[in-house]
Symmetry: C2
Subunit: 457 residues, 2 copies
């Protein structure tokens, strides 16, 4: 029984063709789009021409600015081969793997190059959507250069000052031939042009639903540094008895976590940021609101969309009771936890659908703390960390632990802060109805603990 949402795409294949000089945030945008669409079960992949170039021209060694000089014939050849390979792989991926949104991440800086890609797309019944990131704000460009040079494989062994200089030189070479997109000359093309991130946005011939979703997502992105804090509610009375769902109050230990949470947040903010004002989001259920009740921040919002997975007829039961009463359902859920929908309740996929507007709003926010529930937190975490669907419902996200996510240009830094207040384990392994032992804010070692203490994905 397929259920539709944005993830329903009717035989549409879109090639997002990135356009822009180096250090305009193209790769960041491309990667975010892929992550967002993949989370929504839309098959998407980014084809980064830089990656192909590094592989094909491995013998070149260092990619100094001179490699990108338009008069460097050898460089040009390598670069052309890199583009060809990327496009070739993308076309194969559309056909052989039923790809839906392919992103060609390259500068695609001339009208001629774009015309070639356009033709190729049209010949293959793929809708081309150009996405130009145009920028003349020098601060933004320098910020991007800083990000690139600290993360780009091209400068992995270079000194900082040298890397900046060389990169600026590389940009100059690209500027020689760069042709921006333009409502007059490109009026027949489907394109989005972002001017200085999203200070100004020009949309031309955005027609399909999928294209309009990508536009809306991109519109909501910002690049201000920020942290996202995630926590489950404190241990609840239902957790003690192993019951799922319901609207129970916190246990005595759960209240201790709630009281300690402000201190954990402060510790994680660090001395210099201790006056940072967080926005706090909770679900509409008692246990998340009680957990938030000692936080000193004024802006606390409740979202129904953050409520725990609805277990329908199984609400209030223990896993053992479910196994006894609905053995087939119990097995079906273990076999495909992401798709399994409780009788009269929800699946993980259903949660993703209802979280979609939350993700959009979350992208707009700055520093934020979200107190929610195990299944919902798994889905949020999967979005930020690009965790595949088959894994996300099995992630261990223990009670009494604050998770901090710091999005960077090409990665997200994760750290977790344990409260050192014991709690039951609510982690159920595949094939059993037993939960783990009481642990000190962590789960039993057998669980798939995808969240390590400090991890950069």
């Amino acid at each position: 029984m397929p259920v539709y949402s944005i993830s329903h795409v009717e035989n549409v294949r879109v090639c997002v063709v990135m356009v822009g000089l180096p250090a305009r945030g193209k790769s960041l945008i491309a990667q975010k789009i892929v992550r967002y669409l993949s989370w929504l079960s839309i098959k998407s992949k980014c084809f980064n021409v830089g990656g192909y170039r590094r592989e094909l021209a491995a013998d070149v060694g260092d990619f100094t600015a001179e490699f990108f000089d338009p008069t460097n014939k050898r460089g040009l050849q390598y670069r052309q081969s890199a583009v060809d390979s990327a496009i070739n792989d993308m076309m194969k991926w559309f056909v052989n793997e039923n790809g839906v949104v392919g992103i060609l991440d390259a500068t695609n800086s001339t009208k001629q190059r774009r015309a070639e890609i356009l033709k190729l797309c049209r010949d293959n019944y793929i809708e081309p959507m150009f996405l130009e990131s145009w920028c003349d704000d020098q601060d933004l460009i320098l910020q991007n250069i800083l990000d690139v040079k600290t993360t780009s494989p091209d400068y992995v062994n270079s000194e900082s000052e040298y890397a900046t200089k060389d990169f600026l030189k590389r940009i100059k070479f690209y500027e020689q031939n760069y042709e921006t997109m333009d409502v007059k000359h490109d009026s027949d093309l489907t394109f989005i042009k972002l001017v200085n991130v999203n200070q100004q946005i020009i949309l031309n011939r955005i027609e399909s639903y999928l294209e309009s979703r990508i536009v809306y997502y991109v519109m909501n992105l910002h690049i201000k540094p920020r942290s996202i804090y995630l926590s489950r509610h404190g241990e609840s009375e239902y957790n003690l008895t192993g019951q799922i769902g319901g609207d129970a109050n916190l246990s005595e230990r759960g209240w201790r976590y709630a009281k300690k949470l402000p201190e954990l947040v402060l510790k994680s903010l660090g001395e210099e940021n201790k006056h940072t004002n967080l926005t706090v989001w909770t679900s509409t259920l008692n246990r998340t609101q009680q957990t938030a009740s000692f936080l000193p921040y004024k802006k606390k919002l409740q979202w129904k969309a953050l409520d725990e997975l609805d277990a329908g007829e199984c609400d209030g039961m223990t896993y053992e009771e479910i196994e006894q009463k609905f053995p087939e359902d119990f097995k079906a859920r273990d076999d495909n936890k992401y798709e399994y929908r409780y009788r009269g309740g929800e699946s993980y996929r259903d949660i993703v659908i209802r979280l979609e507007p939350i993700i959009m709003e979350l992208e707009r926010q700055e520093n934020i703390l979200i107190i929610t529930h195990q299944a919902v937190l798994r889905c949020l975490y999967a979005y930020f960390m690009n965790v595949p669907q088959e894994e996300s419902p099995w992630m261990s996200i223990p009670l009494h632990t604050l998770i901090k996510l710091e999005p960077r240009a090409y990665s997200t830094i994760v750290s977790r802060i344990k409260a050192d207040i014991p709690a039951v384990s609510t982690y159920k392994e595949k094939g059993t109805s037993q939960l783990g032992e009481i642990v000190n804010g962590t789960t039993s070692s057998k669980s798939r603990d995808l969240i390590n203490d400090s991890k950069c994905v």
Copy 2:
């Protein structure tokens, strides 16, 4: 316990300043935005300067094109007074009635006029957002003129050919002083510029969440003529026993409705449109899918967001049982049916929140048939017909009746087609747990039957 969604707006007040020549669809866009935001509980109002002008200059009688001649001093005076009155009323409304989004629906065609409004907004801590509808597609303009002249009070007594000529002349007068918005000269302003509806869209400095929602909504609008068909599922076995919720099958009479539905749709499409291809949306519940099962259309989608209001702990009970078991809840629901949330279930407000993406997608669709449930259908109907929140949960939407909505420029034509197959009434009046008598596809006469047989709202 307030629950947030888009309807949560943090102390932001926005004045949407429409910009555009006559016959550019400004009023249509303005009214749709007000309807959409009001449905989401965001207090919004449109201030139409034309309406003020007709009232203030009632002594003028006919508003022929000459009235709008920039050299007509008396005309100018009246028009200035009309703008002043509209702005004055809007400012009062922001302050006295805590307005959130006010729309100034006028041509606002010069930079000077826009600068005045800008200053006034800034002085009053209101965010100005300009929304220009620019159009050079003559077919579109003529289509708009046709809409306007057949609905505008200015041409109520005029002959068709005269009205077109006069209106074109009026447009010529406005064109003399018209200054379009422009990313160069207006780069400091927050604005949306729509070029030929949404063939091209320019967004400048869209910053707040509310603004970005308005943008996304406007992006999704189209002006192709279409019909929207709404139907509840056929009578279900739960309907027979007066139980709410659940996932029952159709009753024998329900199946008869399902079998007759294709014929009703054909009848309503009319002979000339009988080959129209409808998209069919249902919920994920058996009774809506069974109702759709005889429809010959290939494109059938199921949406979880179209499922019936979740009655939580009351799922499967009759209203009498609810009254006995939860007398206080029963009364609380009658007192404020829109806000009342079933224990562990949903309120009407919750449904509106989950329907919001459906509305967005619905705006993009052309001809469509939606088979859903009583509460959900009330919310959808309320959106299209601008039914206030206190009334929408009490609307009577009988079983075995197909509703057809035909959106027009300034109104929606409603017609309903009865299947002539008896069904129980599922309409519960305030203050009783009794349902109506078995009726022939209609409800008892006491119910607030907001849907008349043919109505134009």
